[in-house]
């Protein structure tokens, strides 16, 4: 008994806020409007429109994640070695946008990318052709990269600075060149950070509907948009819940991924 009782309120919130809702969404997902059991809402993912949206979402999320990783890893390396002023300040600069409302940030890109928006005006001034990517998947990927890049930078940077300086020096001492140190020491040791960064970019990119709506102009339909529409426009909650369950499978897979690589809970966002 004793002190354990203090976790009571927490338990209550877990049950009411997490476990019951997950049960409810599962219930909706496997029943029809009359409440009878059905798998139709789940198998609905195989229909053309849904499958297309899922594959597009997977594709765009994958591309965004890879771009974020490719940008963030060298950045993490530079920041780790940086002697520019206070290290904390440099990191702060790269993380700061994360604290600003992501809808505002997405909106900013909408303003920049519009047909007669800032970027095209600047391009026009210097005589370059217009950049017409608004309302295309490219704009959506750009938005995802912009919104989620800090989530990749932070865990990778945290993993990199945790690497014992002596370990890297030991590798040089034993004859390794920079490339070998990177391949054999730095990259393997930053895997926990990379994995949590990848998950933290991939999951929101896969499930977003706001970014695709704002920068895709209704023309880029991701699985998140389909689900959201089932709850707002079409009001087929059972179908929306069923598709959500399918999407959760992908989240569970990435959670398993985290569990495997990130046993020590490293690379938290804090």
């Amino acid at each position: 008994m004793s002190k354990k009782i203090f976790s009571g309120p927490f338990l209550l919130f877990i049950i009411c806020g997490t476990i019951v809702p997950l049960g409810v969404i599962t219930f909706y997902g496997i029943t029809d409007r009359s409440g009878a059991f059905t798998l139709e809402n789940i198998t609905a993912i195989t229909t053309g429109e849904h499958m297309e949206a899922l594959l597009l979402a997977l594709g765009l999320a994958l591309i965004s994640t890879v771009i974020c990783l490719v940008i963030a890893f060298p950045l993490g390396l530079i920041l780790k070695d940086s002697k520019l002023g206070k290290k904390g300040f440099m990191v702060f600069i790269f993380i700061l946008p994360m604290w600003m409302n992501f809808l505002l940030r997405t909106m900013a890109w909408q303003v920049l990318l519009e047909r007669n928006g800032i970027i095209n005006q600047v391009l026009g001034l210097i005589g370059l052709p217009d950049l017409n990517i608004i309302n295309t998947p490219t704009a959506v990927v750009l938005g995802m990269v912009y919104d989620y890049l800090p989530f990749m930078i932070l865990p990778i940077y945290n993993a990199l600075i945790k690497i014992d300086k002596n370990v890297i020096e030991a590798a040089y001492d034993l004859g390794a060149g920079y490339r070998q140190v990177l391949q054999k020491i730095i990259i393997p040791l930053s895997v926990p950070g990379i994995v949590s960064g990848v998950t933290m970019v991939f999951v929101p990119s896969l499930t977003t509907f706001a970014v695709s709506n704002m920068l895709g102009g209704g023309k880029v339909n991701l699985i998140g948009n389909i689900i959201e529409q089932e709850f707002t426009a079409s009001s087929n909650w059972n179908l929306g819940a069923g598709l959500s369950l399918v999407m959760m499978i992908f989240i569970v897979i990435s959670m398993a991924f985290i569990e495997k690589f990130d046993r020590n809970g490293e690379g938290n966002i804090i």
């Binding site: 940030r105 709850f231 804090i270």
Partner: protein, 262 residues
């Protein structure tokens, strides 16, 4: 050579990250209504923003929800840590696993599942449901910030206080609490920002009349962005910047004094 390359790389990313924000900030001072031309410096969009009842209401909602969600989540989270620490390792890891679900789950699933539950149990969506949802997703952040501090804590100091005649409550407030305070503060701040930043979960759990900044922007963007939103983003960005700088300065000072002591 290598150094310039690094510098250019950093500069490009900084440009990428800040160009959109700076653009909004500049446009917020533009007298004209469209972004196509710079008409002249003006604060009229700020004036309009402060006079806009909908925006002000959304701002109030956002801040009060964030404040209460962070407060309740902090209290629940800290007490949870006390309880969890008294548990056996096996049980604790089960609870920590459950704690991670809202963190790792997609917001859209969390939002939908909460909405469906509210409606299934006949609770109509309003301010309260949004607040409940926010508390739910904030608690994990508090626990993640506070738990490590608890683990670092010397159990002996609490026991020493008891040994010296303190009651458990007195020992907790005088000995344990000061030690875990940094974790509690960062948990609270993290919860607050997560709550302010949230769109998806609010989107599903809010009723018709309730707006937060996020949901307001989302609905406005569909009908056309007005420059009042640029003014709003400028104010939010500056506010965030100031708060973060203050937090950083305070924690740096603490670091320094700790170093001096050593």
């Amino acid at each position: 050579m290598k150094k310039t390359f690094k510098g250019i790389y950093l500069a490009i990313i900084i440009l990428f990250l800040y160009m959109p924000i700076v653009t909004l900030m500049v446009l917020s001072f533009n007298e004209g209504k469209t972004m196509n031309a710079w008409v002249g410096f003006s604060l009229k969009w700020y004036k309009e923003m402060f006079e806009n009842r909908i925006i002000m209401e959304a701002l109030t909602n956002t801040l009060t929800i964030a404040f209460w969600a962070a407060t309740v989540a902090t209290i629940v989270g800290v007490t949870a840590c006390i309880g969890l620490n008294a548990m056996k390792e096996k049980h604790r890891s089960v609870f920590m696993g459950l704690n991670n679900i809202p963190l790792l789950n997609a917001d859209i699933v969390t939002g939908i599942s909460l909405m469906l539950s509210f409606l299934l149990f006949g609770i109509s969506l309003n301010y309260g449901t949004v607040l409940f949802a926010h508390i739910t997703f904030c608690i994990p952040y508090v626990i993640l910030s506070v738990m490590p501090k608890f683990r670092q804590l010397e159990n002996h100091t609490y026991e020493a206080a008891l040994d010296l005649g303190a009651s458990p409550a007195y020992a907790f407030f005088k000995v344990v609490l000061p030690d875990i305070m940094p974790g509690i503060i960062s948990g609270f701040l993290l919860s607050f920002t997560m709550s302010v930043d949230d769109f998806v979960i609010t989107h599903f759990t809010r009723g018709v009349g309730i707006n937060t900044i996020s949901t307001l922007i989302y609905s406005q963007v569909r009908v056309g962005i007005r420059p009042t939103l640029y003014a709003l983003s400028t104010i939010i960005f500056v506010a965030v910047l100031i708060v973060l700088i203050i937090v950083n300065v305070i924690s740096n000072k603490k670091e320094e004094t700790r170093h001096e002591k050593n």
